[in-house]
Symmetry: C2
Amino acid sequence: MAEYKVPLEDMNFLLFDVFKADQMWQRLPKLAEQVDKDTAQAILQECAKIAEQEIDPIAREGDETGVSYNNGQVTTAPGYKEAFATYAEGGWTALGGDVEYGGMGMPKMLTALHEEMLCSADISFALYPSLTAGAALSLAKHGSEELKERYLTKMYSGEWAASMCLTEAHAGSDLGIIRTKAVLQDDGSYEITGNKIFITGGEHDLTDNIVHLVLAKLPDAPKGPRGISLFLVPKIQVNDDESLGDGNNVSCGSIEHKMGIHASATCVMNFDGAKGYLIGELNKGLACMFTMMNFERIGVGIQGLGAAVRSYQNALEYAKDRGQGRALSGAKNPEQTTDSIMVHGDVRRMLLNMKALNEGSRALSSYIAMQLDYATYGEGDIQKQGDTLSALLTPIAKAFFTDLGFENTVTGQQVFGGHGYIREWGQEQLVRDARITQIYEGTNGIQAMDLLMRKVIGSKGAMYHVFKEEVLSFIEENRQNDHLAEFISPLSDSLTDLTTITQELLEKSTVDVEEIGAAANDYLHVFGYTAMAFVWAKMAQVSLASEEIDHDFYQSKILTARYYFARLLPRRLSLLASIRSGSQPLFAIDDNLF
Amino acid sequence: MAEYKVPLEDMNFLLFDVFKADQMWQRLPKLAEQVDKDTAQAILQECAKIAEQEIDPIAREGDETGVSYNNGQVTTAPGYKEAFATYAEGGWTALGGDVEYGGMGMPKMLTALHEEMLCSADISFALYPSLTAGAALSLAKHGSEELKERYLTKMYSGEWAASMCLTEAHAGSDLGIIRTKAVLQDDGSYEITGNKIFITGGEHDLTDNIVHLVLAKLPDAPKGPRGISLFLVPKIQVNDDESLGDGNNVSCGSIEHKMGIHASATCVMNFDGAKGYLIGELNKGLACMFTMMNFERIGVGIQGLGAAVRSYQNALEYAKDRGQGRALSGAKNPEQTTDSIMVHGDVRRMLLNMKALNEGSRALSSYIAMQLDYATYGEGDIQKQGDTLSALLTPIAKAFFTDLGFENTVTGQQVFGGHGYIREWGQEQLVRDARITQIYEGTNGIQAMDLLMRKVIGSKGAMYHVFKEEVLSFIEENRQNDHLAEFISPLSDSLTDLTTITQELLEKSTVDVEEIGAAANDYLHVFGYTAMAFVWAKMAQVSLASEEIDHDFYQSKILTARYYFARLLPRRLSLLASIRSGSQPLFAIDDNLF
C-alpha cells in the first residue's frame, strides 16, 4: 500500500488561486482576526504531518483488530489512544471551535480540507473528533452559557468527546416517531429514558468523558417532529468545580459488527433515567440538530472523497509498477517483458475517472465550504447568498461526493485486479469504509428529497435561481475567452439542461407530487455533474491564465478538465432521460407484483 | 434475512415460454436422449430444494468462520463438508458432465439456472463444484482416454474435486509470462515446478483428492502465450487400480484473507517437481483452457446475478416490513404510525432497478446458454450461429452481469439503510461476495477487450452482424404488433445506436488502435443494455400473448419491461457520448501528470 501523501498543492491551488480565500477572509472581520494565508498554509502543512505520520499508520491494524466490547466497556484498536492524544495535544480538536470557549475559529474552507486529510488517512479515526466537533457546533449555537462553559471548553481541548444520539431501532429516517422520553426534574434537569442505536463513538476509551446529545420527547410533547427536544447527557456527571463526579445512568449495551469502519465504535446506548440538560428550546430539538447538519453533511461527503483520494493514490502507484501485456499501439517498454498497465486505455479510464471526480469533488467541496463561511461570517446580501447556496448544495455534497467516493474506491480496487480483493493491500478496506458514507447522516435518498422537495420545489425554484445566476455570471464573464470556449460551451449546455429539468419538475410536481420522489435521485446527480462542471471550468480558467501554465500542475489540471467534460459530464444525459420518463414506471406496478 | 426462495416460476417461464427449450431439445438428438420438459422441471425443483435447504443455511456462518489454514491443511467452514456430501450424493456434481464417463449430459440452459440457485444461496460453496465442472469440461474435451477414465468419473461422482492453476504473482491477465516449468520424464509424465496464486479450491477437506489443471511451460517452449501447455496434476497420485497412492509434490503454502467469499479457499499452491500429465497438445494449453472459458465466464456472470437475486429478495421483504415516513401523496396506511417504505419513489426505484436488471440478466443468460447448447449439440448453420453468438455474448455475460450484480447488491444494501451495513442482516456479505466476480476469470476490463477487439473488430464486424440480424428479424416479425410497439420502437433505436457505434469504431480502429481500448468498457455496456432490451422485448411479447395475461406473473413482467425501457435502457446514451469523445482525453495526458 502506498503511503498517504496529502495533496497540498491542489489544496493551496483551490484556496488561494481558484477561490481566493485569503482575500475573502480579509473582507470578513471575524475571520480576518483569526486567519491569513500564511497561517492557513502552516495549518495545512502541520495537519498533513499528523494525517500522514500519526493517523495513516494505524488504519490497517484498526481494520483488522477493530473495537472490542466487554461488559459495557469499549476498547479502541491499538494505537488509537496514542494517536488521539497526539491529535488533541496539537490543538486539532479546537480547529473550527468558537474562540470564546477556546476554539481556534478557523473557517470551514480550512477545516474541510483538514477533514479530507483525516478521512484519507482513516475514516474510523476521523469519526471521533468529527462527531465531537459537530456536537460542539450545536452546543455553541444553542446551549446555555453555563452548559457551554462547562462542556464546550473540554470538548475543544480534546479532554472529552461527544456523540449524537438520534436513531432508534424503529426510527431512522423518520425521527418524528422516536420514543426516548425526557421528564422534567425539580432541579430543572431532565430524566432521560430510552434506547438509541447506531451511535458512533457512543462509548470508547479515548477520553475521560463523553457528552451525548440526545433527541427525546417530553411526555406531553406534540406528536411528530415538532415534539422533539435536544438534551445534553454526560456519560459522567460534572461537579460544580468542573471535576468529574458520579456516573450517569447511561450505558453501552453492545457494539455493531459492520462491513467496515471497524475501528469506529458503533454503539447501542441505553439511557435508564439518565440526568440530562435541555439544549435550546423545548420541542425545537430538530432545529438545534439541523444547525450542525450542513456542517456535518458536507463532512460526510468529504469522508467519501477522502477514501477515494487514498484509493487513487494507491491505484496509481500500483498501475505504474505493475507490468501486464503491451500497449495496443506497440510496446512502450520493449526492453522489459511487459509494459506497465498504464498503457492500457481502460486502466487510464479508471484512473482518470478517479482523478477527475476526486479533484472535482474537492473543488466543489471548497466552493460549498466558502458559502458556509459566508453564511456564518458574512453580512447582508453576501451572507444571504452564502446561506442559500450552502443549504442548496449541502445535500449534493453529502450524496454526490459519497456516491462518487464509493464508485472511486471500487474503481481503485479494480485497478489492482485480484490483489485489490485481498486484504493486505488495503484497497478493499477503503471500499468497505466508504460504503457507510452513502447511508448514515441521512441516506443519499433522503438527501435527494432534501434537495429537490425541500429546497428546490420548497422555494418554488428561488434557491435554484441563485445557483443558476452564479454559474451564468461566470459563463458571461468568460464568453469572449476563446481559450475557455471548450469548457464554457458544454457548461452552458449543462446549465440549460438543469434549468429546463428544474422547470419541468416544478410544473409536474403540482400535477403529481410523486414525480418528486421518482425524480429526486437522478435530479441530484444531474445537479452534481453540472455543479462540478462549473468548478472544473473555474479550475481550467485559472490554470489557463496562470503565468506558470507550462508547469505540470497546471497542464494536468487543464487536461483533467478536458477529460471531465468529455467523459463524465455526459453522464447527465441518461439521468435526464430517466427523469423524463416520469413517475408512472415506478408507481404503475402494485406492491404485490414486485 | 429472508429465506432464499428459488424463482422457479421465472425460470420455467424463460425455458419453456420464452425460449421454448423443450422444442429445441427435441430437435437436437444428443439432448433429446437426455432431457425433456418433465425431466427439466423435476431437476429444477430438486435443485431448488438443495439450494434452499442445504446450502443457503450455511452461508452466513461460512462468512463469519471462513476457511482456516494450518500447516498445509485447509479446513472448510462448519457445514460445508456435510452440504457438499449431500450435494454430491444427489448427483449434482455430474449434472452437465459427459454421459460416457458418468455425467448426466444436461444442457447449459439447465445447468446455468442450477448455477444461479447455488450462487444465490452461497457463492463460496458454489465455487467448489463449479471449478470442478469447469476443469472436467477441459479434460473431457482434450484429455486422453486414459486420463478421462481415471479422473473424470471421480470428478463427476463428487469423490474428487478440481482446481484451475493459472495465475502467478507476476502473471495474471498476461499469462504469456508464466514461469511454472514442466520437464518431460522418461515415463512420459512431466515434472511440474512453480508457484501459483489465487487458486480457488486449491486445497480443502471436502474430497479425498483434488485434480489440479496447471498451466506451465516446457524449457524450450516458444515465448509468450504460444508456449503454454496444460497439465493434470493430482494432489494424491492414483494407482493403476484407481486406488489412491502416494502423495504428490503439491502443497498449499497459505490462503488469502479476502474481502468476501470467506468460505472459499483461495490458495497459494506450490508445485515442487510434482508429477503431471499433459492434456491436449504441447504448447496448446491456452486453447485447451479456453474450451471451458465460455462455460466458466457465463458462470461467473451468473454468480453476480445470483448474489443480486438474493439481495433483491431480502430488500423487498425488508421494504414491505419497514415503516418510515408517509407517501408524498398522503398516508397509505393511516391507522399505523408510518407507511411502509414501499411508498417512497426512491425505494421503488431501487427495487425496480434490481428486479428489472436481475430478470433481464437471467433472460439474457438463458439466451446465451441456449446459444452454447446450439454450439455444443447442434449441427450445420445452427451450430455455427450458436458458436458465434455464444462467443460474442460471453464477455458481456461475464462483465455486464457482474457489474450489474454488484450494483444490485449495493442497491439492495441501500434499501436497508444502516441495517444494510451491519453484518447480521447479510446484505453486506452479498456486496463483498459479489465484488470478486468483476475481477476473477478475466477482469471486466479484459472482457471488454475480448468483446470489442478480439470478437467485433477481430471479425471485421462479421460476428456483430450475426447478432444484429437476430435482433432485426425479431423486430421485423413484430413490427405490425401495435401492443408491442412501445418495446419494439426503442429496441430498434437502441440497435441502430449500437450498429452505428460499432461501425464508427471499426473505422476509427484503423486510424488509431488506441480507440479500441478507450471505448471497450463503455461499448460492452451499450451492447449489454441493447441485448437486454432484446430479451425484455421478447419477454413482453410472450407475456402479452399469453392467455393468462391477467395473471400477476405476466402483469409484473409487462410492467417491469416498461420500467426497463423507461429507466434503464437510456443508460446507453451517456456511454455513447463517452465513446464518441475518443481516445484523446485518455492518452493526451502523460503518465507523470496523473
